[in-house]
Symmetry: C2
Subunit: 155 residues, 2 copies
């Protein structure tokens, strides 16, 4: 699938910031390139008692990146559906002392065409997405593997 355009990304950002806990994290939609959706949030709004990024904020940003990517794909395909996170496995690799930059993408072995076919045919579908928050040097601060469920809306 082609990457969503700027209008779609701005609309997603507006949708995200309508949620009070997401607004508190000061999340921004940075871009979507080669099927990877990138979000960012400032450290100051997401800092813990040790001066590093709070674990809950790291999970929130990774969850929003993956949720956002599924949401964008459904919009592109013209399939109205609610998207839910079903489960998440998170590994915290290294403390992050800088702003949070997360990206999410579809896991190997999954494909959007099958996901959308299943959703159209059965009314619901699941997909696994991977996400990570990067260190300033390009290494990985935190990574997650999570399953998302979409349920088609009537109409």
């Amino acid at each position: 699938m082609i990457d969503p355009d700027d209008d779609a990304l701005r609309a997603l950002e507006t949708q995200l910031l309508a949620m009070p806990p997401v607004r508190a994290l000061q999340v921004r939609v940075v871009g979507c390139l080669d099927g990877r959706l990138r979000l960012a949030a400032p450290l100051a709004a997401n800092v813990n008692d040790k001066g590093t990024a709070f674990g809950g904020s790291l999970v929130s940003l990774m969850t929003l990146a993956a949720w956002g990517l599924v949401t964008l794909r459904l919009q592109q395909a013209g399939v109205p559906a609610e998207v839910y996170v079903a489960d998440t496995d998170v590994r915290y690799r290294a403390p992050l002392l800088a702003d949070l930059h997360a990206e999410a993408w579809l896991a190997d072995g999954e494909d959007w065409a099958s996901f959308l076919d299943t959703l159209r045919g059965r009314g619901r579908a699941r997909a696994r997405l991977l996400s990570q928050v990067l260190l300033p040097d390009g290494g990985v601060a935190t990574e997650a593997s999570a399953r998302y469920a979409a349920i088609r809306k009537p109409g």
Copy 2:
């Protein structure tokens, strides 16, 4: 170990609310009974686009409950240490349309005495904690199994 007293719980709440992303969630320390630490947060500050509790907030509250319980145990034992979350596996069981009530406790097969002995002897130790967010009817909205690492501070 005996449960921490009200002064210790109030001090933990102050420590939690010093973190900007935790203050945004409006987290409260409810109590600690039989080794289970209970936290709460209002739905209004943690609501998603579907009117249910945001996944990131659910993980944050469960993480804070488990992190807080380890922190309280270390304080009771008089061992100054930093506590880090190492990994978390989360299962979202049912949407939550009410205020968030989380509790955390030490997993079966773990014990605080061994954890503290290892920390005193080697300077670091790990423990697995379980946590959940409850539905109003007593069922489980979300549950997590996570490992926490403590690293002793000098002095």
